[in-house]
């Protein structure tokens, strides 16, 4: 099969899956709503509780799941290609720990933005992610002309540990209710309750996805090693830089919306590779679509399994992802 046909096939299959998830997910939740009433536009919206639950609670939440899932899954693909390490995740290089530190500070000190008093948690998380990315990048570039993937990995792992210590310190001094909420933030939560957080993250994600589209071929070359990629005419250093920054941007934006939801960035790429092979021109878009469908599905479980008690969505992805990851490890050997 030519690459065009494989691409078209994958788009059709995974696109249908993602679309189905996005259409079906808002129909279920912790309460039952009457679909007839949801789309009954004769009653004013402010009095139509079913419509409000659908459009204010469930739809933004589903869209948040789709965006975050797509971003984390494709960022996972890019990081695995860039680091040439199948165990890399969007959080390997410290992005999530930096974001978590930012969110932690914003929650503990009740930061708000400007006079409007918007929540500063997403912005602080994004700033924290940017900080972590800059540090890792500066370190990895300091001693090499290009990006040393070894230094990237080591710096990322160390930064993760360092930021985790800072997070524990902030938590330690926080009020009891606050430290509970910060802990809860770490488990991931897609209940955004309005479209505003999505609109803020969207421009960043558009830039990241545009970069991913360009990155598919360079990642194919990079997977053969930096030297042979260079002999085939790839500007390795520049491609690595773009991969690093675009994947970090996608991760930072995703974490600022939904918290550091784990395992999406590793299970989804591997599952997709099992099904479509390893060509990044197919794996990248297919992972984005499958990631969207997967996270939307996990979030449906999170809000319905123990309703009215909400399960953290990160716990669901980890419960599914952990065993899968182990199976993957065993299977490789």
């Amino acid at each position: 099969m030519t690459i065009r046909r494989r691409f078209a096939m994958a788009m059709a299959v995974y696109g249908t899956l993602a679309a189905a998830a996005i259409v079906l997910a808002p129909l279920v939740g912790s309460t039952t709503i009457d679909l007839g009433r949801v789309f009954d536009f004769s009653t004013p919206f402010s009095e139509n509780v079913d419509a409000q639950i659908f459009f204010v609670a469930r739809l933004p939440r589903t869209l948040a799941g789709a965006l975050v899932g797509a971003a984390l899954a494709s960022a996972g693909v890019v990081f695995q290609g860039l680091l040439r390490n199948p165990l890399a995740t969007p959080f390997t290089l410290g992005v999530s720990a930096g974001a978590a530190l930012g969110a932690m500070l914003a929650i503990t000190f009740d930061w708000t933005l400007g006079i409007a008093g918007l929540s500063a948690v997403p912005a602080a998380a994004f700033l924290g992610a940017t900080g972590a990315v800059s540090i890792v990048f500066a370190l990895a570039r300091a001693r090499h002309r290009g990006l040393s993937t070894d230094v990237l990995l080591l710096a990322g792992v160390t930064l993760n540990a360092f930021f985790s210590a800072l997070i524990l310190m902030v938590q330690y001094f926080a009020d009891f209710a606050d430290s509970y909420r910060t802990l809860r933030w770490l488990m991931g939560d897609l209940d955004v309750s309005s479209y505003q957080p999505l609109l803020s993250a969207l421009p960043l994600l558009v830039v990241a996805f545009a970069a991913f589209a360009w990155l598919a071929r360079p990642l194919n070359l990079l997977s053969m090693g930096a030297d042979s990629a260079e002999t085939r005419g790839l500007e390795v250093a520049s491609a690595q830089r773009r991969a690093f920054f675009s994947a970090s941007l996608a991760t930072g934006a995703a974490v600022s919306v939904g918290g550091p939801i784990g395992f999406i960035g590793i299970i989804v790429p591997h599952l997709v590779r099992l099904m479509v092979g390893s060509d990044h021109r197919v794996v990248l878009p297919a992972s984005a679509l499958f990631g969207a469908a997967f996270l939307v599905g996990c979030d449906v479980l999170a809000r319905t399994l123990l309703a009215p008690v909400e399960l953290p969505v990160g716990v669901i992805t980890a419960l599914i992802g952990g065993p899968f990851f182990l199976w993957l490890l065993v299977r490789k050997q």
Binding site: G29, A57, D175, D189, S193, P308
Partner: protein, 307 residues
């Protein structure tokens, strides 16, 4: 002999043995230094009490045992006399060394502080084991505490005062329509995210009940519920009371109340029955719980109380 033997076999093992022996000697020395501070003295009452739990510290001072208290926890701010005492950590980080050095004969410990409990038991210091529960448990705890520290009469009076206050509130709200209420005790600033409300058990639920409100999460058998957007919309609270333990400025209050405007489907939002109560009395299950309950009752039934 033993340490030497250990060292010849393996260096690190030997160090561990030395450390263990040193620790044992230290424990023996500590024990020897306090021959009279054995298990709780059956005859006398404790004269040196340490409490790291704000609610119990308040209880001790309320029943007149304040002069017997020698140290408190990091978060204890009331009464002012308590805030001036030495601080010895809190629920998660009790400073055992400082606690021991103050030579207490009674330490109030939270049920979950198992390390601290083991250590205190080892050196034979008396303990009063406490755990947050419902409203009725507050008065029960005060009585038990009174028996333990020799302040039965004062404890009975404190208990009677709390019950009188609660009865007074009950009388005022009796017969008035009970609004279906969400009692929110945590939320991200400036957003309707990370909302936590009282579930159907615990003192917050009981306080709301006594204040003349029906908890919208009464059916959830937990102390806290993550109140998602969907739950808030679906359960349609007639009133929302947000509790804050620290002071909130008027400007912050206005701003935080306006955040709810994005969910006009909630009856409480439409009819402007969202209130922020910033007062530590509402979140500490101690002797001031009657006052805290009154603050919630005033938020729900302002017309039932004189200005």
């Amino acid at each position: 002999m033993i340490p030497f033997h250990g060292r010849t076999r393996a260096g690190s093992n030997g160090t561990a043995v030395i450390a263990a022996v040193a620790a044992a000697v230290a424990v023996v020395l500590v024990l020897a230094g306090r021959p009279s501070a054995g298990a709780s003295q059956p005859s006398g009452h404790p004269a040196r009490i340490i409490s790291v739990i704000p609610a119990v510290t308040e209880m001790l001072f309320a029943i007149g045992a304040g002069p017997q208290v020698v140290a408190v926890g990091s978060f204890d701010e009331y009464p002012p006399e308590a805030a001036r005492l030495p601080r010895v950590g809190a629920l998660l980080d009790p400073d055992v060394e400082r606690i021991l050095s103050l030579r207490p004969d009674l330490v109030i410990v939270y049920e979950s502080q198992s390390d601290l409990r083991t250590q205190l038991a080892r050196v034979g210091i008396g303990m009063f084991i406490y755990k947050h529960a419902g409203l009725a448990d507050i008065t029960t705890t005060i009585s038990a505490l009174g028996d333990r520290v020799g302040r039965q009469k004062e404890a009975a009076a404190t208990r009677a005062a709390i019950e009188a206050k609660l009865n007074e509130i009950q009388a005022r709200v009796q017969g008035r329509p009970r609004p279906r209420t969400a009692l929110v005790f945590g939320r991200d600033a400036g957003a309707l995210r990370g909302i936590y409300a009282s579930g159907g058990v615990g003192f917050l639920h009981d306080m709301l009940d006594a204040a003349g409100g029906d908890n919208i999460f009464a059916d959830v058998p937990r102390q806290s519920v993550q109140a998602t957007t969907e739950l808030m919309l679906a359960r349609k609270p007639d009133a929302i009371v947000e509790l804050r333990s620290s002071a909130v400025t008027e400007a912050q209050k206005t701003r935080e109340l306006s955040v709810w405007k994005s969910l006009p489907g909630i009856p409480a939002v439409r009819s402007n029955r969202v209130t922020i109560v910033s007062d530590p009395r509402t979140v500490v299950p101690g002797p001031r719980v009657g006052d805290g309950t009154e603050l919630i009752a005033r938020a729900l039934h302002p017309e039932a109380f004189p200005k």
